[in-house]
């Protein structure tokens, strides 16, 4: 974990309001993993004041490049959208826990809803590269969006499933429904329940939680929570667990065993 100023290599529009920023990531800054995140200081003024967290969407150790995908939602992401390649970005990371590897023999189904796609695009690439060595199946990536104009211009791995709520691109339906079909298409029986990896809006996560429970499946969830420090110091990013306790999204998370999270409290 380090804080450093690093050149922006690319700032590209992926769809109507999604963009991808790629920065130089020196090897001695720590290894970004799928599910982990960085925080970005976006302005030299007090507006916005706080750093903003973004999940890594990719890391290339040979080229020394790391990327994140973001949606323009407010002042910080608007400023980021205007950052030119060649200018420097104030970054701090890598932070938080990443997705655990799939168990040998399993088929990982990666489910991204909306702007939650970044860590899953990253995980899909990693899990695919290491599938033979790790002994798991090539992962299936399922991405859901509201409408076609959100669908990002990205090279997705072969076999990826796209869906939209209105059917304007890919399958019509939710990412969770598509993920369940993808899991059923694998070689699963009652003895080998599927393993999901997910990041998305609260309703999607709640739906996945219900489906996973009825399938007896486990899943890993990357959560979002308001953050101030990003390093475990302020206790602002608490996530309510089903046992009634709190965990810090930035330190114990952002990846949690999804079945341990009290989604109703999110």
């Amino acid at each position: 974990m380090r804080r450093f100023d690093t050149p922006v290599l690319e700032n590209r529009e992926l769809s109507r309001d999604y963009r991808r920023i790629e920065v130089e990531w020196p090897g001695d800054a720590g290894t970004p993993a799928p599910g982990a995140f960085l925080t970005v200081g976006v302005s030299g003024t007090t507006d916005p004041l706080l750093r903003r967290p973004f999940a890594f969407s990719g890391y290339d150790p040979r080229e020394g490049r790391a990327a994140f995908i973001f949606q323009i939602r407010g002042p910080a992401t608007r400023l980021l959208s205007e950052r030119r390649p060649g200018t420097v970005l104030d970054v701090l990371g890598p932070l938080g826990s990443g997705f655990p590897d799939p168990a040998p023999g399993s088929l990982p189904v990666l489910v991204g809803g909306g702007i939650g796609l970044g860590p899953l695009v990253f995980a899909a690439r990693e899990f695919r590269l290491r599938a033979a060595a790790g002994g798991w199946e090539a992962p299936v990536l399922v991405l859901g969006f509201r409408t076609a104009d959100q669908v990002p211009a990205l090279d997705l791995p072969e076999g990826s499933v796209l869906c939209t709520d209105d059917g304007s691109a890919g399958f019509r339906g939710t990412a969770v429904e598509a993920a369940e079909r993808a899991a059923a298409g694998g070689r699963y029986g009652p003895d080998a329940p599927p393993v999901f990896y997910a990041c998305g809006p609260a309703p999607m996560m709640a739906a996945l939680d219900r489906r996973a429970a009825s399938l007896g499946a486990s899943y890993w969830a990357a959560v979002e929570q308001w953050m101030a420090c990003g390093v475990g110091a302020c206790l602002g990013c608490a996530v309510r667990l089903k046992d009634g306790s709190f965990a810090r999204a930035c330190a114990e998370g952002p990846v949690f065993d999804g079945t341990s999270i009290d989604w109703g409290a999110m």
Partner: protein
């Protein structure tokens, strides 16, 4: 000439005037790989209460113009877990460690102090009578001069060590100088100000507050002028040292407090933005002192033209 940056609070000598504020720096190790924690003038821990506290419901944080609201709710593992799990690493620190103490009753504060007195690795106590984010205790004490005086006196009497007692003041009062005088009469070695201001943000589309608890504590540059005014008024009302807190991001911000009469400062929300803030602020204070011919921290308050 190298200025002398040390600051005396009671029997304690801080190596430099720039500390990190309670609740914004965890227990120090969180920032270990990002900056030199041991070079801090002082590390004020997250509040310690007798019993473990899970903290408030979420969301606990929202950004505001040049500031933020928090309603953490004094979340902490409790006194015994603090001694068992946090104190060993704090003991190894080369910077002074001051434990921020909170409670719901006088006895709560007393229990924390009595338990910590025999433990080493603690340089002093900051008594938090100013937390706006819990329903009992905290602010309930900090707004009543008689209660502040009685609590301070009781705590001071209970101390076996020569560790200083700093009373942390709330700006959410009619007259902060009166509360500061009460702390001084009770025997406080210093006062620190300010804790956060009560604030609220409403999501107009959802027609509900952005924080789960409704209100929270405002911190950051937005409160700096309030903090500087408090430091100014309090330092004229009491003879004990004043520690200035609120919205410090740069050396110039800290110098406002020092010129206003504060002897030392704490960086809070600034740590979130840049973990290097305290170090940068200290460097800037040193440069300013050299440029302006101040050789000791005590010289600075007298340099204000007011």
């Amino acid at each position: 000439m190298n200025p002398d940056l040390s600051v005396r609070i009671g029997n304690l000598v801080l190596p430099n005037p720039v500390g990190v504020a309670s609740g914004t720096f965890g227990y120090g190790s969180e920032y270990e790989s990002l900056m030199d924690v041991d070079a801090l003038g002082a590390l004020y821990t997250k509040a310690v209460t007798p019993e473990p506290r899970p903290g408030n419901e979420v969301p606990r944080i929202v950004e505001t113009p040049s500031g933020m609201l928090n309603s953490i709710g004094l979340a902490n593992p409790g006194l015994e877990a603090f001694v068992r799990d946090k104190l060993p690493e704090l003991r190894r620190r080369r910077c002074p460690v001051l434990v921020n103490v909170a409670g719901a009753s006088e006895d709560d504060y007393l229990r924390v102090l009595e338990r910590l007195e025999p433990e080493d690795g603690i340089s002093g106590y900051e008594i938090n009578v100013s937390c706006p984010n819990v329903s009992h205790g905290g602010l309930a004490f900090g707004t009543d001069p008689a209660l502040v005086e009685r609590l301070t006196a009781r705590l001071k009497r209970s101390l076996r060590s020569a560790r200083p007692l700093i009373v942390k003041l709330s700006p959410n009062v009619t007259d902060i100088a009166e509360i500061a005088r009460a702390a001084e009469s009770g025997g406080a070695d210093a006062v620190s100000c300010i804790n956060t201001l009560v604030g609220m943000v409403i999501d107009v589309d959802r027609r509900r507050p952005r924080l789960a608890r409704g209100t929270g504590g405002l911190s950051g540059p937005a409160i700096r002028p309030v903090g500087v005014a408090c430091a100014f008024r309090v330092s004229r009302a009491v003879a004990i040292p004043v520690v200035g807190i609120g919205g410090i991001l740069e050396a110039r911000d800290a110098l406002e407090y020092l010129l206003a009469g504060a002897r030392a400062v704490q960086v809070g929300t600034g740590n979130f933005r840049d973990p290097g803030t305290a170090a940068r602020v200290l460097e800037g204070i040193r440069d300013w002192m050299v440029r302006n011919g101040a050789s000791r921290m005590e010289d600075i308050p007298g340099m204000l033209d007011a």
